[in-house]
Every structure is written in structure tokens, then in C-alpha cells.
């Protein structure tokens, strides 16, 4: 496993560099941020001063060499917008998103397992039809709309929850519910599908013939085999959540990395954008490794291959 891990780390370094170089170059192709940061009537002198002060007058390769030199010394530069350390801003925002995404995914997986198994017990039964309808709807509702409706119903009309913000446990409910719906919908269908096929396997019939209870059969026998595809999809969905929480973060005023990235793109705040992208890329890379390892633990067929690799 350690060898495997080391190999994965080495092979992931290249994509990381490509991502950073790409973001670096693309961001700078969108133009000089001077006019965003200077008054509209700034003179050419002021523009030149700004450009020179931020090193934007240097050739792209020189800027890039400077930047990577800094990264190696763990200096990610300063935010143009706030004057703060870019890495500190990214590191402050990241846990907020991570917590939101992790909590959401745990709940989505749990709910999907329960509902998916329930539906799979009797394919085309009432439970299956209800859950199929609900999960399809859940997977297709736009989160922006859902968030606004959620605020209107639960914060304004009923007054049960705060509209937004991060203070108190209540503030977690609407963002999580909004984020949860789509992964839940997708996962229910995956779990149902793989449970239906697992439950028709010979070993289930054997277990059933030996008198195993329905619940024990599902949890001890079928689910273990059906969980692997769900885990893979859940991992992908988690990656999507870390990236895609921006709508929820924007609406609910959640100080996360998605919002930070969008703001730094719109504000051409290059250093912050790069720090945020790098951090997210590293996190996604780590997540992928964990998913692979989890998969190996769940499915013995995968293990020898990965161990040899």
C-alpha cells in the first residue's frame, strides 16, 4: 500500500503543476487588473505604478518563475484586494467548505443507503417507485432555486431557521439540505441498482435458504458488495461538492473556498486564485487516493492489483 501511495503521489505531482501553470497563464491572459483596483480616472502614471508594484510588467515566464520560487518557500503572494497573505485566505476558507461538503456527503450516503436498499428489496414495488420519483426530482432541482425557496419557507414563513450565516447549528440546516439533494438523488439510484443485482446473486439465495433475516442479509451480505460502486460515485460527488458549493456559499454567506475562488476570478486577484486552486487540487488528489484505498478495502479483487502497482 505504501508503494502504491508513493507512486500515486509522484504521478499526481505533474497534473498539479499543469493545473497551476494553466491557472497562472490563463488568469493573466484575462488582462491587467489595474483598472479594477484603481479609480476610474486613474492616470497612466498610476496604472504603470500599479502594474510595476505588483510585478505585472514582467514577462510571463519571469512572473511564473517568481511565483514558483515563492511557492517552494511556501510564499503564495498577497491578495490584491485585501492585502492579506493569499495562502492564509485560502486556508481559512477551505475548512468551511470541507466541513459543509463532508457533512453533506455523510448524510447523503446514509440516506441513500437506507432509501436505496429499501427500494431494492422489492423492485417496482411502491417503495421503489416513490424513491425513484423522489431521487430523480432531487437530482434535477437547481440548487439556487431550492436555496431561495428554502429560505422563504423555513426562515421567513415558518421562522424555524436562520436565513443564512454560520452562527449556531440551525444555520447548517438549509445549506446542507440544499447541497444534499443532488448527491442523494444520484446515490439512491446507484445503491438501488447495485443492491438489486446483489440481491439476486446466488450467495443471497443461499443465505436466505439458511434462514438469514432480511435485515441481516441486506446489511451483512448484499450491501458490502453493493457499496463499492456507491463509494466511487460518492467520492466523485464529494469532489464536485468541494468545487460546486459556490452557489450555496454565495446565497447563505458561507465563507468557503468556492466563493473565494469566484470572487478572486472576478476581481482578478491572481495570488488568491492560485492558492485556492492549488489547495483544492491537492485536496482532491488526496481524496482520490482515499477513495481508491477504500475501494481496495471493500473489494478484494482490486487489492492485489493495487498492491503490486
Amino acid at each position: 500500500m505504501l508503494i502504491y501511495l508513493r507512486k500515486r503521489i509522484v504521478s499526481s505531482a505533474l497534473p498539479l503543476v499543469v493545473v497551476i501553470v494553466g491557472v497562472f497563464a490563463l488568469a493573466r491572459m484575462t488582462g491587467n487588473p489595474a483598472s479594477l483596483y484603481l479609480p476610474l480616472n486613474a492616470s497612466q502614471q498610476m496604472r504603470d505604478d500599479f502594474t510595476a508594484r505588483n510585478g505585472l510588467d514582467q514577462p510571463l515566464l519571469v512572473q511564473m518563475a517568481d511565483y514558483f520560487g515563492g511557492v517552494l518557500r511556501l510564499d503564495f503572494g498577497q491578495s490584491l484586494r485585501t492585502g492579506q497573505d493569499a495562502a492564509a485566505m485560502a486556508l481559512r476558507a477551505f475548512p468551511a467548505t470541507l466541513q459543509l461538503a463532508a457533512t453533506t456527503m455523510v448524510l447523503a450516503v446514509l440516506l441513500a443507503l437506507v432509501v436505496g436498499c429499501w427500494a431494492a428489496l422489492k423492485p417496482n414495488g411502491v417503495a421503489d417507485r416513490i424513491s425513484s420519483f423522489v431521487s430523480m426530482a432531487a437530482a434535477s432541482i437547481p440548487d439556487f432555486w431550492l436555496a431561495i425557496v428554502g429560505i422563504w419557507v423555513f426562515a421567513i414563513t415558518l421562522g424555524w431557521l436562520p436565513t443564512s450565516g454560520v452562527s449556531g447549528a440551525g444555520a447548517w440546516v438549509l445549506p446542507i439540505a440544499t447541497l444534499l439533494l443532488r448527491p442523494f438523488g444520484v446515490l439512491v439510484q446507484i445503491v438501488r441498482g447495485s443492491m438489486v443485482s446483489a440481491l439476486s446473486e446466488p450467495y443471497i439465495k443461499l443465505a436466505r435458504s439458511r434462514g438469514a433475516g432480511e435485515l441481516r442479509m441486506v446489511t451483512h451480505h448484499a450491501l458490502r458488495n453493493a457499496a463499492a460502486p456507491a463509494l466511487t460515485v460518492a467520492g466523485d460527488l464529494t469532489v464536485g461538492l468541494v468545487n460546486g458549493a459556490v452557489v450555496v456559499e454565495t446565497i447563505f454567506g458561507w465563507p468557503g473556498i468556492g466563493k473565494l475562488m469566484i470572487d478572486s476570478i472576478l476581481q482578478r486577484d491572481f495570488a488568491v486564485l492560485q492558492a485556492a486552486v492549488l489547495l483544492t487540487a491537492v485536496a482532491i488528489f488526496a481524496l482520490n487516493i482515499l477513495i481508491d484505498m477504500g475501494y481496495a478495502l471493500l473489494d478484494a479483487r482490486v487489492r492485489p492489483v493495487t498492491a503490486r502497482a
Binding site: Q45, G83, T163
Partner: protein, 519 residues
Amino acid sequence: MTSSSTPLFPASAVKWPALAAGALLALSGCAVSNSEAAPASGSALRVVLGQEPPTLEACESNLTSTGVVVRSNVTEPLVERNPQTGELEPLLATEWKATSDTEWTFKLREGVKFQDGTPFNAEAAAFTIDRAVNSKLGCNVEGYVFGDADLKVKAVDDTTLTVTTPEPDPILPLRLSFLEVVPTSTSTTAKVREPIGTGPYKIEKWDAGQKITLSSWDGYWGDKPAYAKAEYQWRSESSVRAAMITSGEADVAMGLSPDDNIGDLGVDYPNNETVALRLEATKAPLNDIRVRQAVNYAIDKEGIVSSLYQGKHKVAAQLVPEGIVGHNSALKGWAFDLDKAKALVAEAKADGVDTSAQISLVVRSAQFPKITELAQVLQEQLSQAGLNVKLKMLETSQHLTYQVRPFAADEGAVALMTQHGNQAGDAAFTVDQYMLSTGAQSYFGTPEFDAMIKKADAASGDDRKKGFEDIFAYQNDKVVQFAHISHQTGIIGKSKSVNYTPNSSSGDELRVSEMTPAS
């Protein structure tokens, strides 16, 4: 997250993931939120803004998002403009006069202290001006208010300050009303995110990403404000800001849209913003004044104001609204006359102008409420006049390349949707930028027009007022770089528990000391 997915594999039980979820929730609760909700009224005033201030640096407080928290709350200027009367009023300076063509002398208030305990004096005032205007810090206020001109400052004695300008400047005190005074201990080499000032509130805590708390400062020279604290949060969606007022989570919400429908919790105020199309007269077909006039006739301003903005905006005939020195109240908006517009276009075409050439209608997404709808209406109305209009919705940074010099080249002539806010109260801040032939936001001008502007800039009193009034009339008559649409009305959300009447400067400078709890 990892602990959440790995415990799944002992498929025997659901308890591990459940525990993990619980633990995560608890953990995250601790890490992200350590603030408890404030009481509904009384001790703390809760304000919700559209965005987190990028900084609270005093020399950037002309930026709306910074100034709305800092100005007159944390820091104070020497003089301040009364938004209702337009008059300058004493603040840290008690009196001022021009002592020569280029020199102004200010008498400063005695007994004022900074929040760090050091005394406010002429040295601090001189330091503030030097730091903001003459330094290499690149303060936003420098370019906005002072341009490249350096000022000579001198602390004659503790309470006397002289400021010398390179050219005669009749509105120097007005310009100085944008400079928030900071103590001499403030860094001159770096901007300061949390300034020290002389204002009624000091910065207690800034939870980055979440909340800024100001608390009333006991050493304030003036009256103690009614609210002991002011708490600022931010939400980018105006509907969420409105919801926070409705649900009682906030007392004041900035920048609401008519669509937010919060009834009598929304308070209208003139925000001094004017919307207009700026026409690029160097390219066909806009290079012909008849086509630019046709643009003006083709726009149904009354219709736009009543259908898109519920009648709350006012039809505009110039770039500055009432209340700004130089506003010409005799000017009326161009009549909506489609036949005349068509006739003018036809006339231009007969004279060889290529009226089929494309005009790019360049618009910034989400710049103000209903801008997309407005852009579509304009595109349709100009097309009806016989013009070939292509709509381009751009994000801020791209839009700026069209908005300020050097202008981005486009495949055709540009009609740029511009929203101009004159927060200074004097038309000079408008015409220098928008109408001088070399102005940062002006496509063109004429030598005669430039001369009128320079003359008005240097004049004072009634001559100044008259000069600018003539300039606005001349633009509509002879230049026609602009097709004015409307003077906007801002909406602030305000809970019943707060007494406050917003004014034209509330969006840039929200004075907490002017608010009181309703009993």
C-alpha cells in the same frame, strides 16, 4: 470527509457513519461559528452589506464597500458635506478659508483624541494628507479625488493647518472631506486593514469572512451614539439581505432591489446614481450627431422607469441628479418620439452615413437591479429606430476595458451602459471624467466644450454653478455623447426597531450614530 467515507466499509452497521456525521457536525460548528446571535435591538445594531469590505484602510474609504463601514463611524474627515443641503460642515476642522489663490488654512478642533489615546492635531492632519495624496501607497482616494496633483501641507501650530495646491482649487475643502484622518503612528509603507480614527466607534473584531464588530468608544469627543455596538455581515444576494430584515436577523440591509418586495420595511432614498448610454462618436453610425439624437428619441424613458422600476426612478436629462452643484433643473429628458428617431436615421442615411453598421450595446452584468431587462428593452427600442444593435453582456473587468481609457477596440461603434454616481456633490467630479475630450470616461469632446469645462472647474460660487449648468445643456444640444435614461433610487431595508432616514450618501457612508432604537 475522509473519516466519513472510510468507516463505511464495515457494512455491518450504520452507527459508525452516524457517529462520524455527528462528530463532523459538532466539529464544524466549533470551527466556523463562534459567534452567537445578537439581541434584536438595543445594544447592537446589525447591518447586512452586499459584500465584505476588502479592507477598512482609511485612504481607500472612497470605495463604497470600505467607506460604508469606516467613514464617520471609525474615522472622521476634517470637513464633511451635508448630503441634504450640499453645504460643507465642520468636523475635525472648525473653520477654514482660502488664504490665497492656492492656499487654504484650516482651524482644527481642540480636545480630540484618537482611539489609541494620542491627541489629534495639525501634525496628524498634515500626516494624513501626505500619506494619502503624496505617498507611493497608491491610495484609491488619491486618484479619485486629487488626481496626480501633490499637495503641500504644513502644521503651523497644533490647531492650524495650511494646504497649498499647485493650481487654484476652489473646492479643496470638498476634496478633503474624502480624507479620513489617521494618527501619525499609521504605517506609511503599507496599507492598514484596521485603522485607528477619532470616530464614535472603534473596530472591536473582524472575523474574516463572517462579521465585523464595531464598539462605541468612550473617549469620543462628540455625543455618545445610541447603539453600543454595530455588527456588519454580508450576503451577496439582495433577496437574502431582504429576508434577513423580514426574519429579524438584521436591522439594516443595504442595496435592495425593487424585486425583493419587502413592503414598508424597504425605505427609498436618492442614491445619486444616474444611468445613461455613452455613445462612441468616432465610428459610424454614431459619428453622426443625428444618429446620436435618434438614440435619445428612440428610448422610452418613462416606460422604462414605470415598468422596470415601479416608477421609483426619475427620467434623467443629465448625468447628475438634483442636489449636485451644477445640476440644471431647466433641462427636460428627451421626448420619446420614434417617428422622429426614424426620420433622423433616414436623414443620416441619405447623407451617406452607414446606418446599418453594427452598434455594440455594452453592458455590465448585475451592475444594478434589472440591468439585463433594461439592456434588452434598449436593444429593441434602438432597433425599432432602424439601428443595428448587438447586445454584449460583460463581467466587470471586461466592461472596464470599454469604460475607461484606453478604450477597447470593438468591431463597431459602442454604446456603453454606464452607471455614474456623483457622491462628491459637485459636477466637476462628473464632467472632468465624462465630458472633457481627454476625460478618463469620455469618448470625445470639442475644444469649445473643453474650454467651458476648464472655466467652470476654476470658478466658484454662482459662476461655478452656472458654468456647469451650461455644460449640461451644451452636451444635450451640441455634443450628445450621452443618452440619459434615469436617476436611480436606492432601497435600504430597515427593521421597525430602528429610527433612521437614509439620504443620498447612505450607500457610501452609513452613519451609525444617526440611528436610534425605536422605543
